[in-house]
């Protein structure tokens, strides 16, 4: 099914990301007769949650990763059989709307660039871990817990020596139990949840009981740590990585003021995840500040369509809700896109979406409790003056605060004056910190301060890659 876009042949739908949402959407869109191309940075499908599931699910190590991970194998099989064109290992560096409708995506792989045009686009770009600035977080040996888990999934490797795990939320607990099952050792588990979180979460308990099995699973992880004799330190308010050129020790201080030092060459940190919204922001899609998750989320209609007609978002990129919800939201978006493109009428779309909406509602039952219980401690958003905030350009929190004396600058002025957010990661590691530091220093809500303006290229692209483009039309 080929269509015209500004005079060029195009497909029906580009999907960015081959995680739970992107794969489910591709399968659903193909069943509804749409032509689909899926663009993904990884070499194999599954996203981060089901990373390398194609190869690992069949090995003995899949037991370490658990039943939720194994579910990804069926999803990846269905995706591969769907008939969608799958561009693996490809980076999107720009996407632009057509002059009347449709989209053109600019992609590179192995030094070659090309474009894909389509009538609609679905951003299924998932989430990234929330940036956690603390003294020493740029030292080799500091990784995110998500990174450590990706290494377990994709390379089947674990830290060689006892590791410090510091953070808040389900992922540090899950990874800790997986690491123990894999034969790894934990020198200290630093729980950074502040005191009183349980009380704040209790009002959400009744609704959460609809997903009681997941609650029990979380309690089981904590019991595993205790049974294995892992030192668990609660209410940790501050950490610091120290060492000469790499991590050698980890300092920590609790909310009550108790201090200690742990010898370790690796420390894994995690303070929750935030939607990956760079592509949506670059398209100019309307965003809203979500207080309960301390992040921006796109403004979406009931099928996941953004404020830009034809651009849809599904999965954790639409707001953190987990893998099962991501798959359902991917299917609902595919139905909405099919209706938009005329492959379904409105009544058919509503009828097809209904059972998935009901399932999604059940799936989201636990979310308010998780959000309240694992909301990051205040220190995550208020690093000390000498702490590096922008890793790429080594700009400290103090440098950013100093800008406030010059007026009430927003993130873009601070970027221009300090170079924070100007390095290769393009603000992915400092954007939220800069917003929060400015908000606190200026006495304004984060929602009002805003975020960096995100501009293409979304990933660095070389002149050689630009020269290899198969079209010059859009570069004029």
């Amino acid at each position: 099914m080929s269509r015209e876009l500004d005079g060029e042949l195009g497909i029906d739908l580009i999907i960015l990301g081959a995680g739970p949402a992107g794969m489910a959407a591709a399968v659903a869109a193909r069943k509804l007769g749409l032509s689909v191309t899926v663009i993904d940075e990884q070499p194999t499908p599954g996203g981060q949650i089901w990373r390398a599931v194609d190869t690992i699910a069949a090995t003995p190590h899949a037991d370490i990763l658990g039943v939720e991970y194994r579910k990804g194998a069926a999803a990846a099989d269905a995706f591969r059989a769907s008939g969608a064109v799958y561009e693996a290992g490809a980076q999107l560096w720009q996407i632009e709307p057509g002059s009347t409708s449709g989209f053109r995506a600019f992609v590179t792989r192995d030094g070659k660039a090309w474009t894909v045009t389509a009538r609609a686009v679905l951003l299924a770009t998932g989430a990234q871990e929330r940036p956690v600035p603390f003294p020493g977080w740029t030292l080799p040996g500091v990784l995110t817990v998500g990174a450590a888990q990706i290494l377990l999934k994709s390379a089947r490797q674990i830290p060689a020596k006892p590791v410090v795990i510091a953070g808040c939320g389900p992922l540090p607990l899950l990874y800790a139990t997986q690491l123990i099952a894999a034969g790894g050792q934990i020198a200290g588990f630093l729980d950074t949840s502040p005191p009183g979180r349980l009380g704040r979460a209790l009002p959400h308990l009744t609704r959460a009981l609809a997903k009681a099995s997941d609650l029990w699973k979380g309690l089981g992880w904590m019991q595993t740590l205790r049974r294995e004799g892992v030192p668990v330190i609660r209410h940790v308010a501050a950490i610091e990585a120290l060492g000469n050129g790499r991590v050698e020790r980890v300092y920590h201080r609790t909310h009550g003021g108790a201090e200690a030092m742990i010898a370790a060459e690796t420390v894994f940190v995690h303070e929750g995840i935030v939607p990956n919204v760079h592509v949506a922001m670059s398209l100019g899609c309307a965003m809203a500040w979500k207080e309960s998750q301390d992040c921006y989320v796109p403004v979406l209609d009931e099928f996941g369509e953004t404020s830009l007609p034809g651009a849809f978002i599904a999965g954790d990129g639409a707001g953190i809700a987990g893998a099962t919800a991501a798959g359902l939201r991917g299917e609902i978006a595919a139905i909405g896109i099919a209706a938009k493109l005329g492959a379904l009428d409105a009544a058919e779309a509503a009828a097809k979406a209904l059972p998935r909406r009901r399932q999604l509602e059940r799936e989201l039952a636990l979310r308010p409790l998780l959000d309240a219980m694992f909301r990051p401690r205040a220190q995550v958003f208020a690093p000390a003056d000498d702490t590096i905030v922008c890793r790429c350009e080594e700009v400290t929190a103090g440098t950013i605060r100093a800008q406030v004396k010059l007026g009430r600058p927003g993130p873009n002025q601070v970027k221009a004056f300090t170079r924070a957010g100007m390095g290769p990661c393009q603000g992915r590691q400092c954007g939220y910190t800069v917003t929060r530091v400015l908000a606190a220093a200026e006495g304004r809500p984060a929602a009002e301060v805003g975020f960096y303006r995100v501009r293409p290229p979304l990933k660095p692209v070389t002149l050689g890659e630009l020269a290899s483009l198969d079209t010059q039309r859009s570069l004029i």
Partner: protein
């Protein structure tokens, strides 16, 4: 600072600087770097401090390294292949040239 849980059956040989390294076919260059005595991929273009893989999912760009024929790439997004030649980015000037966007 990392070790593998298994003995890989399919291996490739790559070169990191002058050192020949055995790696598992299909794993990422960043995973291999983290098993080396020197786990760093590049230095900060500002202070010259060493940086090693941090996020493993293409977000942080700390694992930029130079692969012969490809230039500076994110090591966490590249699968190793037989004969791959890798160079750590040790100087500010070269990093600025390769990566500037």
């Amino acid at each position: 600072m990392f070790r593998k849980l298994h003995e890989p059956t399919q291996t490739v040989t790559i070169h990191i600087g002058d050192v020949a390294v055995t790696a598992e076919a299909g794993e990422t260059l960043a995973a291999v770097l983290l098993r080396q005595a020197e786990p760093w991929a590049r230095v900060s273009p500002v202070s010259g401090a060493p940086r090693a893989p941090f996020c493993m999912m293409g977000v942080c760009f700390e694992c930029l390294a130079e692969i012969e024929g490809l230039g500076a790439v994110q090591a966490c997004l590249v699968q190793v292949s037989e004969g791959m030649r890798v160079r750590r980015l040790a100087e500010r000037r070269e990093l600025a040239q390769e990566v500037g966007s």
